[in-house]
């Protein structure tokens, strides 16, 4: 947890530059892992009114905010946790882990067409731990689990 430094427009808090003129509940969503609901809960906990801007916060309020944020799993900690979860699933040989490894949809979506997002994004957490050749091999090796109709879809 670093000391918050105030510039003219941006507030640097926990490694993230927050826009100074934004309402607190909106500015908090700039953190990875904090959405509108979590931001609202943080503001309620610290008694920040709905129209409170970051520039209006006092030093003690900013310290309280830093304290609350540092107790949460956000930013790099959260990314590491998600990656670790996916790697774990792969290592214990689950279906979900295999789908991540193959870069295919995980939640039972169809792959006959679409599935573009999954093919683009899934498995990127495992790519650090495997090469492209390994991913392609994994797809070939597990291709027997794919339905015959969908084989022609795979590159």
């Amino acid at each position: 947890m670093g000391r918050p430094e105030q510039s003219s427009r941006m507030l640097h808090l926990l490694g993230v530059n927050l826009p100074d003129q934004k309402v607190v509940s909106v500015a908090l969503t700039y953190f990875y892992g904090i959405g509108p609901l979590t931001a609202r809960k943080i503001c309620s906990k610290l008694s920040f009114h709905n129209e409170c801007k970051l520039s209006e916060l006092t030093e003690s309020q900013l310290n309280q905010l830093s304290g609350v944020l540092s107790e949460m799993t956000i930013e790099n900690d959260l990314k590491r946790q998600v990656t670790a979860n996916v790697v774990h699933l792969r290592q214990i040989g689950t279906y979900v882990g295999k789908r991540h490894a193959m870069g295919l949809p995980v939640h039972g979506q169809k792959t006959r067409n679409n599935a573009r997002t999954a093919k683009k994004l899934n498995g990127r957490m495992l790519r650090k731990y495997s090469t492209v050749a390994e991913t392609a091999f994994a797809r070939q090796a597990f291709g027997m689990f794919q339905s015959p109709l969908s084989r022609h879809q795979q590159d």
Partner: protein
């Protein structure tokens, strides 16, 4: 020049009709060249400098479109910008509030508006006053009735609180403003909140109270104390505390007055709530100076707020200390020894009008039951007619009031067409006597 020479040669070589067209083209070119030559002697207009509008300097704040220029009215074109008509109006005060002012427009003191609302006005009145050029309101029959009641309640007889209710735009906030203005000039201690919406709409800072379930709003309490001090300093100085009052580390002796008490609240925002509670407690028990408490948008006292507690649960208004200070007066749990407590409802923000309160203020017509025995059945819906406060309905304008309003609009150049009885009657009927709708009817084009 090469082009012109070429055209001339072409004109000589080509057949006659083409030659004629070419000759015309040549002539036109020569004329244009001549004009250009003659214009070179006139000074060019400087289009980089505007006469009336100057651009504001770049600020750190992003300005919305339409606000990037400031108008210098001294350089404005007099054909388009004319000064508004100057109408002289009597200032509304305790002396001028009498039957002689009925159906005339009176002016609210600018200083009073500055002290109570920092220049802002309740409801839609801001735009109206801007159009008129001054804060002017119609002195109605209802206004005179309320002024008479104010004088009656100045006697040392405790009364129930009163709530002004009516349709949107019927003049509730205007009546309350007039009453507060009269009370301020007649020596009352005036505690006037122009709108209680900022108390509940989560636009101002709040925080949990110390060892209390209530939430505090020091800034708002401080502002309220400042307005009380600015409007009623003389009246406050006439009321001694009666007992010694301890606020934080400061102690006020019994001989000190309410002015000293309010000054502490103004200087120390963290003590504002304690000071306000003490002020209300002492002022409501004393009978030296009458007290006038006026809250606009009083319905917010019973609504849910936009604030949330630490568990992210929506706070009802009675969890706010500022609301709790005034709620007992409207629920019959506290009363003034000398004075009057008035509230005005507001339907501008429907989210802060509880359904139960709306039903109590506007009960459905009581239809006699076909089976009289059902009236003894407790399960049969029986709308509650018992309210802890009195309700005064602000009704539609009378014909005389409508005529007075339209006459003033004509003097203020809001209405430019000649005023006839037929026109006023038409506007009055179309608006159903609602002042807001009448104003909209004369100011909108479509």
């Amino acid at each position: 020049m090469n082009c012109l020479a070429q055209n001339a040669r072409l004109a000589l070589k080509t057949p006659s009709y083409i030659a004629a067209a070419g000759a015309r083209l040549l002539t036109t070119s020569l004329v244009i060249a001549a004009e250009k030559g003659s214009n070179a002697t006139k000074p060019k207009a400087d289009r980089t400098q505007s006469m009336a509008f100057t651009k504001k300097e770049n600020t750190t704040k992003k300005v919305r479109s339409g606000t990037a220029t400031s108008v210098n009215m001294s350089a404005a074109n007099p054909v388009y910008y004319t000064n508004g008509p100057k109408t002289s109006l009597d200032l509304l005060s305790a002396e001028t509030a009498n039957k002689a002012r009925l159906n005339t427009f009176v002016q609210i003191d600018d200083a009073f508006l500055q002290n109570t609302g920092r220049g802002r006005c309740p409801g839609y009145l801001d735009a109206d006053f801007k159009l008129f050029g001054k804060p002017a309101l119609l002195y109605r029959d209802l206004t005179q009735t309320l002024v008479d009641r104010l004088a009656q309640h100045s006697e040392a007889v405790p009364k129930r609180a009163t709530v002004l209710d009516g349709l949107n735009g019927c003049g509730k906030s205007a009546e309350l403003l007039k009453l507060a203005s009269v009370a301020a000039t007649s020596g009352h201690i005036v505690i006037y909140a122009m709108s209680t919406l900022p108390w509940v709409n989560s636009s101002r800072p709040y925080g949990p109270g110390y060892k209390s379930e209530l939430f505090v709003q020091h800034e708002l309490a401080n502002e309220l104390l400042r307005s009380v001090a600015a409007v009623s300093r003389e009246a406050l100085s006439k009321v001694p505390l009666g007992t010694s009052v301890t606020l934080g580390k400061k102690t006020l002796e019994a001989e000190k007055t309410l002015t000293d008490l309010v000054d502490i609240g103004m200087q120390t925002p963290s003590l504002a709530h304690d000071v306000l509670d003490q002020l209300l407690a002492i002022a409501s028990k004393q009978a030296i100076v009458p007290v006038f408490i006026a809250l606009d948008s009083v319905n917010t006292l019973w609504s849910n707020t936009f604030y949330r507690d630490q568990e992210d649960v929506i706070l009802p208004a009675n969890r706010l200390r500022l609301v709790r200070s005034f709620l007992p007066f409207f629920e019959g749990e506290a009363a003034l020894a000398k004075g009057w407590v008035v509230g005005a409802t507001s339907y501008m923000e429907g989210r802060f009008m509880p359904k139960s309160l709306k039903a109590m203020l506007n009960p459905p017509p009581l239809v006699p039951l076909a089976n009289p025995e059902l009236s003894y059945d407790p399960k049969v819906a029986n709308p509650s007619a018992s309210l802890p406060f009195d309700v005064v309905k602000v009704n539609r304008l009378s014909s005389a009031e409508a005529w007075a309003m339209m006459s003033f609009y004509q003097k203020a150049n809001v209405v430019t067409t000649p005023l006839t009885e037929g026109l006023v009657a038409k506007k009055w009927v179309y608006a159903n006597g609602n002042p807001r709708q009448m104003f909209a009817g004369v100011t909108t084009y479509f």
